[in-house]
Symmetry: C2
Subunit: 357 residues, 2 copies
Amino acid sequence: MSHSNLKFIQREQLKVKPKASELGFGKYFTDHMFVMDYSTEQGWYDGRIVPYGPISLDPSAMVFHYGQEVFEGMKAYKTEKEGIVLFRPNMNVKRMNDSCDRLSIPQIDTEYVLSAIKELIKIDQEWIPEGDGTSLYIRPFIIATEPCLGVRAAKQYQLLVIMSPVGSYYKEGIHPVSIYVEDHYVRAVRGGTGAAKTSGNYAAGIKAQEVAKDLGYSQVLWLDGVENKYIEEVGSMNVFFKVNGEVITPELSGSILAGITRDSVIAMLRSWGVPVTERKISVEELFDAHQKGQLEEAFGTGTAAVISPIGSMKWEEQQIEIAGGEIGECAHKLYDSITGIQRGTLDDPFGWRQVVK
Amino acid sequence: MSHSNLKFIQREQLKVKPKASELGFGKYFTDHMFVMDYSTEQGWYDGRIVPYGPISLDPSAMVFHYGQEVFEGMKAYKTEKEGIVLFRPNMNVKRMNDSCDRLSIPQIDTEYVLSAIKELIKIDQEWIPEGDGTSLYIRPFIIATEPCLGVRAAKQYQLLVIMSPVGSYYKEGIHPVSIYVEDHYVRAVRGGTGAAKTSGNYAAGIKAQEVAKDLGYSQVLWLDGVENKYIEEVGSMNVFFKVNGEVITPELSGSILAGITRDSVIAMLRSWGVPVTERKISVEELFDAHQKGQLEEAFGTGTAAVISPIGSMKWEEQQIEIAGGEIGECAHKLYDSITGIQRGTLDDPFGWRQVVK
Ligand SMILES: Cc1ncc(COP(=O)(O)O)c(C=O)c1O
Ligand SMILES: Cc1ncc(COP(=O)(O)O)c(C=O)c1O
């Protein structure tokens, strides 16, 4: 798609870029952003790249009251051979539409939005950090902007894409985290919004995360909302276990996000001949496997950390150590292989890289 | 509390007020709003009444991404004898703090916020409509404003109070609605955020509401998220049934909002000597009661409609008519009694009215 009709208003005075060591996650934003509006009469219209800056909304804008919102998260990398690349971005825009469907938000033209994102990346390419493990995090999101207090789908929306240079997730090298199995608070339930990337799911999880942090754990492992028994996700990541040589991960039950890293991990493991099963996994089964000495590894998967090895898990009165508190072999190999593809230092047999420029 | 330190910036040019016939719900807003900020360093600070108008937020403001938000809804009425009154407003500000607790939002000083609301009402008192059934709807809400992409409790918030003159809920007199029992989509589950007044709960419900509307029903009846069996709420209202002379309503299980109208209805019925029980109620039990000819009435309760009689209910393949599709006696008496207290035409034995001015 040509962008001859994509309006671009350039920032007059470019911002000072932060030092690589100060990046962190989601603290700094680039010079420009993509914005597009929706009305029932016009559909999506007026896509434009403008200087990054505050947005002005009526205090009755529906997003503030009834939470009609969806978002996405992906990363751009600077590679030596191919220049700037994205990792499976088609899956992000496709998933955005799935989220829109659940939230009664009008569908977007995925091709158009993806090409606008690429345009934005090109304009702000100087912002892509080059340090080890760094990247440019891209956050597309849609909010209901109609000024009206009434619980129903809005008639006006705004889609924005903002970008943030982010530091390495693992400043001191990839390391295992401690997990608290949450058996009181619930993140999502089948029939709810758990399979969509929408703000309310995250709001529901903050309290449990604080409780876990206070107890000294770094992430929460969520159980299903119906029986409080089956494993769903860990923090904002999908979760995998290696039990007796087989890798298992919770099936996409309707209350779990269909992670793109999850999908990539499954494909990669299978290409290596490692058996992977998607099914229901109860915490009890897992702790039993540990008792029998069969729980070999556990790790989370997501765009932010790629692979996050789990070193220990606490459930009710039981606390277990996994893989001796070290990074499992499988997690390590997956991390190296996926980040290698993302950063262009490894071949891309799956065709996951997409060149921006 | 004195308001000598409550800053007030008056609007220069007052808006033109809409005609009583055009009011609707939540479409028009008064001349001013109350705003207050929060930072971890200063706590809540800079409470001020300013001209109603757009708010400016960084696109990375956390409310847009992780949905940390709570809100309230109450009404002010113009009465003949006592001037402007509110209905049990202490319960709203108290409930707001309960919602804040679930969403990891800092507590507010309920007395201060309530006095600020009263101040705002006095300033914009000309906006309180006088027509039959009309009132001034008041919407306090808190949003996470910190500009940061990270799933955790924000460090900056804004509390706003906006006000909207609203028309009569029942333009052609109080009338029964048709209800669709939702057995696929789920609004809330125990351990989730259903007991809090937070945006994500409403976002989760929009899709089901659209399905019900398309099938010709005006509201959704929500079942519990665990067993899909027990009745929770109807639309954005609590729900009551009269079965064989006894009034029953779902107990506050943790996934239901503790409605102020619900509380008032229970107190009023008991004062009349009508037995009221709060307990689990399965849809099946209810449809059985109907079969036996014992389901005498059904109605929703909430600030917007006060009492909303239910004339028919559809569940799976069964469609039943309640109270002959008419308004039940109990619902009618409750409606007249509560609105009478609210509008100052009846005595207030419970002390529910609070005079603003
Ligand atoms: C709730 C949740 N689960 C899982 C994931 C992982 O998805 P992805 O691999 O697409 O980043 C995310 C997002 O990163 C998430 O927010
Ligand atoms: C989900 C929900 N349930 C019930 C109610 C009724 O509560 P109240 O009577 O306090 O208005 C409301 C709000 O009006 C609501 O949003």
